[in-house]
Symmetry: C2
Subunit: 220 residues, 2 copies
């Protein structure tokens, strides 16, 4: 095997691992939203346990990227691919992390019904699920145009967060709802809002990998 072929195999392996991690994180997001809707404790526990796998995947991809940069000294698009891998895993890991944060809340209050506490919750879940799916898909397909469009979805998620916040505070003030549950729905909404931010980052890294620009400034 010539060094170039070996290098290309290594890039492919790195890409395979990124795709695998993206799919795993998306599965965690789907599972945790399902667990929220049905208050499925077992499914929530599965997501919590899966968080270690996500952490291991992140560490593995970081190590692989750093080793590739040192040993192969890639240039141009190859280098952008490896640098992107090194950065985008952080956003994937954080999304997985927030799925586990939500799982913890579900497990703690198994008799709560977070999903129906505010009508905005299912809407925010739908919007977040879509944005995670779309951003990971754009990244996997290296679809720069889609990435640019998907970033705009974050405004919807931010708007829903503000609505939930206002609703929950008035529920708390009304005093007819379990305060613990109200607080935790707010936490869940905050996690969803952060997940949206990380989906934006994934779009930004997709654009960087293809175009070598960050915020429209050429870097590589």
């Amino acid at each position: 095997m010539t060094p170039r072929i070996s290098f290309e195999h290594q890039l492919e392996a790195l890409n395979d691992n990124l795709v695998e991690m993206g799919q795993y994180v998306e599965k965690s997001i789907d599972q945790i939203f399902k667990a929220l809707e049905t208050m499925d404790i077992e499914l929530a526990k599965e997501v919590m346990e899966g968080d270690d796998t996500v952490d291991d995947m992140e560490k593995g991809i970081e190590a692989q990227s750093l080793a590739l940069i040192t040993r192969q000294q890639p240039v141009a698009r190859d280098l952008r691919m490896v640098s992107t891998a090194l950065k985008v895993v952080t956003d994937m890991e954080r999304i997985g992390d927030h799925a586990a944060d939500i799982a913890e809340i579900i497990v703690r209050f198994e008799h709560a019904d977070f999903y129906h506490l505010s009508k905005q919750v299912p809407k925010m879940i739908e919007a977040t699920k879509k944005m995670v799916h779309d951003s990971l898909n754009a990244f996997i397909k290296r679809d720069v145009k889609a990435a640019g469009e998907i970033m705009k979805q974050d405004d919807i998620i931010d708007g829903l967060f503000d609505k939930i916040k206002t609703e929950i505070i008035s529920l708390l003030q009304g005093g007819n709802q379990n305060a613990d549950y109200c607080v935790d729905v707010l936490m869940i909404a905050k996690y969803l809002e952060r997940i949206g931010d990380h989906a934006v980052n994934i779009c930004e890294w997709t654009i960087f990998e293809e175009k070598g620009t960050i915020d429209n400034i050429r870097v590589l």
Copy 2:
């Protein structure tokens, strides 16, 4: 100027920017804790506005690191330094981000007294301030031994978070406190807990830069 000297100047410039960003983030943390204690709205607004500066610093260091990797193709310790720069800025930026999150809460409820709502809040603030200071200091000094020790402080912060959570929930149930304020203290505590996580990461990257290991596994 020989290429090697120019390269060393560029590494120095990168390091200077990292130190500057670290100091800026630490200042934001100090300011926001002071603003919380005295409910100083003007100071909180200053921290909110400073968040754009932190974002710009992050983008700048990312661009600088990526350009250095491409053009100079560094190896060994130099490469570890540049790779660390590329990763550690994310943690610094997130700490700054959470300082701005806290600032937003202060500005929204200027008549609240978050600081005294729970006796654990000042303790958690002290612990977080210390951990941010220590981890950034260890990073700047490349003190691997200190970095390993500082990581353990995170258990204190996590413990205080759990205590605040229990206290606030019982305050909410008692119904004698403004529910908005209670919810926001909980949010503030969650941000502090996350800041602790990022300080742990800064310690981990300090160790990686010097030793080339992630979680004790040799990478570079």
